[in-house]
């Protein structure tokens, strides 16, 4: 309870002792009120979180597992909506497609992001600052603008095609409206976050640790696998979880850059809700994405709540 120094309290106590005044009774009460007041202050955002995030999610589950019979009007617990989903070949293809795009994107993000983070952590080049600005640049390009830019850049006869032509490569086939288009765009969008978090993780590994390993004769590869990878597990887990969830729940880029068929789940849900007015169908798909991301979500929550080792 006692703080190392609380000059005000000491000062007041001394003043009271000197003037022989009784301690104000409000002092003790204020502490309790401050706790109560804290709840009052956090109530509005907590209420919004409960009403607009947790309630709709729970409501979605309840609405899709209780099916009311059209004739009798009776409501029964049933997995009918989910069975219907898995019996539909188009929806099943959409789900498989989403899983594959997510795996490909997250894999590519590590392949591109980890070396970039290593470069930013260890490079002493004067160009490192420029590399950092370039890797963070996508943070400042919103999704819809990115989609438009990539269509014009990567499209047939776009700037990339032209550049390849200049160096003598012909026969370019555009990834626009292809699955690769989605992967490229999502990697582009998530690179800053990936590199930022991985670099932050690598910065926590002190130079002394690496130097001492090098002193006892560890090779670069050994330093990478035995020191850097284990010490950046926390960052890598956060990157993995949030990228999986982010890509799985993506809408704008798959919608604007991807093929008409198969669709990613985000696009599939939006079509069901806005175009076909199929609210239960859209909810069923939403709950399925929640369930698939739940395992990853639990891993994420456990990672952030676990105190960091140090």
């Amino acid at each position: 309870m006692t703080r190392p120094y609380n000059r005000k309290k000491i000062f007041m106590a001394t003043a009271r002792a000197l003037t022989a005044q009784p301690a104000p009774p409000a002092a003790a009460k204020r502490r309790d009120l401050s706790g109560l007041f804290g709840y009052v202050l956090i109530a509005p955002p907590v209420a919004i979180m409960l009403l607009l995030i947790f309630y709709p999610a729970i409501e979605a589950v309840i609405e899709t597992i209780f099916v009311s019979d059209a004739q009798t009007g009776q409501t029964t617990l049933s997995l009918q909506n989910y069975i219907a989903f898995f019996q539909d070949p188009i929806l099943r293809a959409n789900l498989t497609f989403t899983v594959l795009v997510t795996l490909a994107t997250v894999f590519m993000l590590f392949v591109v992001g980890y070396p970039l983070a290593m470069y930013l952590r260890f490079s002493k080049s004067r160009l490192a600052g420029t590399v950092q600005v370039l890797t963070l640049f996508p943070l400042f390009v919103p999704g819809v603008i990115l989609a438009f830019a990539l269509i014009r850049f990567l499209g047939t006869h776009g700037m990339f095609d032209t550049l390849l032509g200049i160096v003598g490569i012909s026969g370019y086939r555009t990834p626009y409206l292809q699955p690769q288009g989605i992967v490229i765009a999502l990697v582009w969008e998530h690179i800053p976050f990936t590199v930022l978090v991985l670099t932050a993780g690598l910065r926590q590994v002190e130079d002394a640790v690496i130097e001492s390993a090098r002193d006892v004769g560890a090779s670069g590869w050994q330093i990478f696998t035995r020191i850097l990878l284990p010490l950046t597990t926390r960052s890598a887990l956060i990157v993995f979880c949030l990228n999986v969830i982010g890509v799985f729940g993506a809408f704008t880029l798959p919608y604007l850059l991807g093929p008409a068929q198969p669709m990613m789940m985000g696009v599939s849900m939006q079509q069901a809700f806005n175009n076909y007015q199929d609210r239960i169908g859209a909810l069923t798909q939403a709950v399925l994405t929640f369930l698939i991301c739940a395992a990853v979500g639990v891993l994420y929550v456990r990672t952030i709540t676990r105190p960091r080792e140090r």
Partner: protein
């Protein structure tokens, strides 16, 4: 200074050929990295800028074959653009204001008050990251459908506020926590009232972080497209939602390019302020790093 630092390595390199090779290899990596990143990161945006100022751009040319501004007036006087731009700015302003009113007092409580469950509530905001975004929007949309909020301004405002909570709570909370308390206590010692200490000591100290949070919230809300699309259809069309139809309908390329460039302005302004947030690891703090 520049001549001094560059002179030293040159002399070293002349003396030591292996060191020269090492240095060249290291710089070569950096140069290759910068060139590749420039093409893949800046290239797409450069294409948009070129298109916005192009009268004509035929294929094998790397730059527009005819430059000009004639599409600007044509695009910016389109009825859908003149309606969407004020709506987007107004909406982002309202959402940012409401979010600040709702979240900033709470962030003060999270940072400075002691009550059971404080850490748990704070972390629960971070845990909202664990929901796949679009699935969540669809669930919210179904609830809003029942409440007749689809296609209304309040509906769009509410779904956009959801998006701002994390940022508007975590950045200010970190700022309030980082204040050196002895400054406040010193002011209390010399007899300043609590309100005065808050206004004259605490507030100025957290103001940079609060402005950062407000600025980031405004910009991210301005660009929020998915929630506005699913809730706003068909009555509310913000600039980013307009972009969906511009891209899908494949009208004249320059329309999309000019709108993209105009739409990009707030983000470009933010980019100039960005160095500060990135340095302070403000952004990564929002993910629990």
């Amino acid at each position: 200074m520049a001549t001094l630092t560059s002179a030293t390595p040159t002399r070293e390199m002349a003396l030591n050929p292996t060191l020269l090779w090492k240095r060249m290899r290291r710089e070569l990596l950096s140069v290759v990295l910068v060139v590749v990143l420039f093409i893949v990161i800046i290239g797409p945006m450069l294409t948009v800028i070129f298109w916005a100022f192009a009268e004509q751009w035929r294929y094998p040319s790397l730059v527009p074959t005819k430059w000009g501004l004639s599409y600007w007036q044509e695009t910016l006087t389109r009825a859908d653009v003149t309606a969407a731009l004020p709506l987007s700015i107004g909406l982002a302003t309202i959402v940012t204001f409401l979010s600040a009113v709702i979240c900033l007092p709470a962030s003060y409580a999270f940072a400075r008050m002691n009550f059971p469950g404080r850490q748990g509530f704070l972390l629960s905001f971070l845990a909202t990251n664990a929901f796949p975004r679009f699935g969540l929007y669809v669930s919210i949309a179904v609830v809003f459908f029942r409440l007749n909020l689809i296609g209304t301004l309040p509906g769009v405002i509410l779904i956009q506020i959801v998006n701002t909570l994390l940022l508007m709570i975590w950045i200010p909370t970190a700022a309030f926590q980082n204040i050196d308390r002895s400054l406040e206590e010193a002011a209390l010692d010399v007899g300043a009232s609590r309100v005065r200490v808050f206004l004259q000591i605490t507030l100025p100290l957290v103001l940079p972080a609060l402005s950062a949070a407000i600025l980031l919230t405004f910009v991210s809300t301005f660009y929020e497209a998915q929630g506005a699309l699913i809730i706003g259809v068909p009555n509310i069309q913000t600039m980013p939602v307009l972009m969906y139809s511009i891209i899908n309908s494949q009208v004249i390329v320059q329309y999309g390019a000019v709108i993209s460039l105009v739409l990009w302005l707030p983000s470009l302004l933010l980019l100039t302020f960005a160095q500060r947030f990135v340095r302070g690891n403000t952004i990564s703090a929002g993910f629990g790093v």
